[in-house]
């Protein structure tokens, strides 16, 4: 029997972010600033998945994320799983946690909020982690999952 072919080729060292909802792949890329780094990155999207209908996967060579950094993607990819790769072997697995506070990243959905009218870094407290609800530190309005936009 032939060996199962990987749709996205393996990396020697680095991080694999798997089980990203396909619809949010580019949000994840933008949140992690992957579009601005020089590392070798391969990704695949609209791959079949048992858990998600369509998943995406990102493989970043020679990059190891801090928990704080990677947890930022929990808002758009709560199901994401991380594999830390060293010399083609998975040496560690991680899941993402939704943080209690979200700084930057998300845009407040209230058009009358000061953060949408002056250059201010947004700040939210997470008031619900099940169906994501973020309370703006400034205007005190709730931005829910349906209205969630990445800055």
């Amino acid at each position: 029997m032939s060996k199962r072919k990987l749709k996205v080729s393996a990396i020697k060292n680095g991080t694999v972010i798997d089980h990203i909802p396909a619809s949010n792949l580019f949000k994840v890329i933008s949140i992690l600033n992957l579009d601005k780094i020089k590392n070798q990155i391969t990704f695949g999207t609209n791959l079949e998945s048992q858990k998600l209908n369509h998943k995406a996967i990102i493989k970043v060579s020679d990059k190891f994320f801090e928990d704080e950094e990677i947890n930022k993607i929990a808002l758009v990819a709560p199901s994401a799983k991380l594999n830390i790769i060293r010399d083609y072997e998975v040496v560690e697995k991680k899941v993402v946690d939704i943080p209690d506070e979200v700084i930057g990243i998300v845009k407040c959905f209230n058009p009358k909020c000061i953060t949408n009218n002056e250059p201010i870094i947004t700040k939210f407290t997470v008031v619900s982690k099940e169906e994501i609800a973020l309370k703006c530190h400034y205007c005190e309005k709730i931005t829910s999952e349906d209205h969630l936009k990445i800055v």
Binding site: N110, K112, I114, T115, N117, E118, C136, E140
Partner: protein, 302 residues
């Protein structure tokens, strides 16, 4: 609370609220105290609000402080494109305290983070207007002798009215019963009902404005505004339903007082004005003493 900004009513604890209320009574008894002599208060009104501004300026004058500032953004450098941050940075170098009204929500919180001196929020869009809430609390305390265990009726626009929302949050510290009377389109939003549920506070919702008010200690009236209705026919249907008339007060409690943040349009008939239970004009006067109390305690002068 020296040096603390007042942005949102939830910034103040129950003890701090009671301290302000008692201090307001003290200022009412002795209104002319030169505690702010030599102090400069910046009064920054990025949108006009005559009532709030005059109340603050009267309070500052009674305390012998000086006022600098502007009464609407057309006379500030905002029209030249200056950011709020820059205006606040500059003004906080000139003054001992900033009083700010701004049309954008969250502007007061942001200003308090940029300022080296305390900021008092005199209204940030539809978000918060904590000095209004504190003067409402002082009015309730003064007329009822307590803030505890009262039956509070809120009438009119309970959906968009920021004064009723802040009052609800603040009064929830004092074990009240709430009754909400409003048209269906303007009902109290779920987030506030969930908040009351979480605190175990009882509330009842009504769409008819009838003799249920016989149980009320406080009747807090608000304006039902035409622009809140997408369908003008709906507005026409309800505009005369939530109007308080003198005859409706016959069977109400002796200690009942009628409050309204003003300005009113037709929701309180003028025949109520001479009823001793009408309290809205005195309520506005109470605003001056309450703002004296807030400024004096934030500046650590009392």
């Amino acid at each position: 609370m020296k040096g603390k900004s007042l942005v949102s009513i939830s910034d103040f604890s129950k003890e701090e609220i009671l301290e302000i209320v008692k201090l307001a009574a003290d200022f009412e008894a002795n209104p002319n105290q030169p505690l702010l002599k030599g102090k400069v208060v910046a009064s920054l009104f990025f949108e006009p609000s005559t009532r709030t501004r005059l109340s603050f300026e009267t309070a500052i004058n009674r305390l012998s402080g000086s006022v600098v500032g502007f009464t609407d953004s057309s006379s500030s450098s905002t029209t030249k494109g200056e950011t709020l941050k820059d205006t606040i940075k500059m003004v906080s170098n000139y003054s001992d305290l900033i009083v700010m009204r701004h049309p954008l929500e969250g502007s007061a919180r942001y200003a308090s983070e940029q300022s080296d001196v305390p900021v008092i929020n005199a209204g940030d869009g539809a978000n918060q207007h904590p000095t209004q809430t504190l003067l409402d609390l002082y009015s309730i305390y003064k007329t009822q002798g307590t803030l505890e265990n009262l039956n509070i009726f809120l009438v009119g626009d309970l959906k968009y009215g920021r004064t009723v929302h802040s009052l609800l949050i603040a009064m929830s510290l004092f074990n009240p019963i709430f009754n909400f009377i409003s048209p269906d389109e303007l009902k109290m939003p779920d987030e506030y009902k969930l908040f009351l549920d979480s605190k175990g506070i009882r509330y009842f919702e009504h769409s008819e404005f009838t003799d249920i008010i016989s149980e009320a200690d406080i009747l807090y009236m608000t304006r039902v505004q035409r622009e809140r209705f997408s369908d003008p026919i709906e507005y026409e249907k309800v505009k005369n339903v939530y109007v308080l008339r003198n005859s409706m007060l016959d069977n109400t409690k002796d200690n009942l007082r009628i409050l309204h943040p003003l300005p009113r349009v037709n929701e309180i008939h003028t025949d109520v004005d001479d009823n001793p239970k009408a309290y809205y004009f005195t309520q506005a006067e109470n605003g001056v003493y309450t703002r004296m109390a807030i400024m004096a305690s934030i500046l650590g002068l009392k």
